[in-house]
Symmetry: C2
Subunit: 218 residues, 2 copies
DNA sequence: CATTGATTGAACTCACGGGTTCAATTCGCT
DNA sequence: AGCGAATTGAACCCGTGAGTTCAATCAATG
């Protein structure tokens, strides 16, 4: 038994009684973290195996090669991110309060998703390896960013129908609302690589909601 | 100090009669292209040297190592991109026509810069190697994206003073205007890795100007 | 023309990492 | 207990690429 794997098992609470099961999940998880930290090219399979508390051949037993491992790890995490985003967007329909309050709330929650470490890592990896993995770029991006905006557009379409929003193209409104959130977030995270503080995030959501209402509310 | 750098000062883009001069510029240019195409890790110095029409030791004669070469190549191209963007923003002050027309024009031109191959490559490399080159991330991003938005904010401040825009925070307005351009552009370039057609770009600029005016015009 | 310094090509060192092999071991299950 | 599949560790092969060395060459300057 490797002495290096001491703390590795501790990551997974469910790994207590895990003899040999769900090695696969552990590998995927470790792979994503290492890829996110070192980039695809710099990530060594040996390191991933160690991080997963697993021997290198085991990795190649589950995934044919490094590329496959990368694809699956990225896809898995992208799935989670997508799920959280969609859940947040769905909430908009439940809201019964003021439009402004509902939009601000939505904004804050979307920004939370956007700023999440895993989410940032997914976007970064996607962008970084877009040229070497063209397939992934289209697959994941389309099934993630695309669908979130589509879901948002759907919500907005309802708001147009019930007269809360003026007549407009819901898809465009959704695109722009997302842009009003993501753009300033990007801008903030430039100066200083530190995380954008919660207060600033609330301010961004407020500003986005304000501009959006001015442009789209009836 | 290299005495060879004497010739570097002479910015002779025409390398026709170039015996040994401005090898440096050629290397920087080739380096950027190769880095942009293959990513930092996959880019081989041998290949860069070949692309620049130069021997490998010559590369190491001008730049101590691969990292330095990367930094300088990226910085040089980021400079150009920044210059073009600032020039476009400055134009806004000259405009005498309708606010809408001026904003749409600005938008189209900014999108042009944004969609330019070199510009895309700079952003991609910056994002991709942000974790391995934290310094670059702050240096370039601050002195590029930051300054463009700042220049735009300055223009908007004038428009507030002369009553064209309502009273507002020009910095926020600038951030949002840029977001309304960049966000949808990103969104378009996701589905399909092809370039966003000119018509779609005009539509994005139009939509951005429209939303912006609704939110910020007096 | 000769000196000086940049340039060249080619070969070389060295570290790193993807992927494989294999015998020994362990696990899950009956 | 015992069987088969999965896991392990360790060594190994092999390509690749950063960075260096060196003798030969070239361009310019005095």
């Amino acid at each position: 038994m490797r002495s290096a794997s001491i703390g590795d098992m501790a990551q997974h609470p469910s790994a207590a009684s895990t003899g040999r099961i769900d090695k696969r999940a552990a590998i995927l998880d470790a792979a994503f973290q290492v890829f996110a930290r070192d980039g695809y090219a710099n990530a060594a399979v040996d390191v991933i195996a160690a991080a997963a508390g697993v021997a290198k051949p085991t990795v190649y037993n589950h995934f044919t090669d490094k590329q496959t491992l990368f694809r699956e790890a990225l896809a898995a995490d992208a799935e989670r991110v997508l799920g959280r985003n969609l859940a947040v967007v769905q909430r908009l329909s439940d809201g019964r309060g003021e439009l402004r309050a509902r939009l601000e709330d939505l904004g804050v929650r979307l920004i939370e998703c956007y700023a999440d470490d895993r989410s940032v890592a997914v976007r970064r990896l996607l962008c970084a390896e877009a040229s070497t993995f063209p397939e992934i770029h289209s697959e994941i991006r389309e099934q993630t960013g695309e669908r979130v905006v589509a879901a948002l557009a759907d919500r907005f379409a309802h708001l147009v129908l019930d007269g809360t929003l003026r007549e407009c193209d819901p898809a465009q409104a959704a695109e722009q609302f997302e842009a009003l959130l993501a753009g300033p977030m990007e801008h903030r995270s430039r100066s200083g690589s530190r995380k954008v503080p919660a207060a600033a995030r609330r301010a961004i959501a407020k500003a986005a909601a304000d501009t959006f209402i001015r442009a789209y509310a009836r």
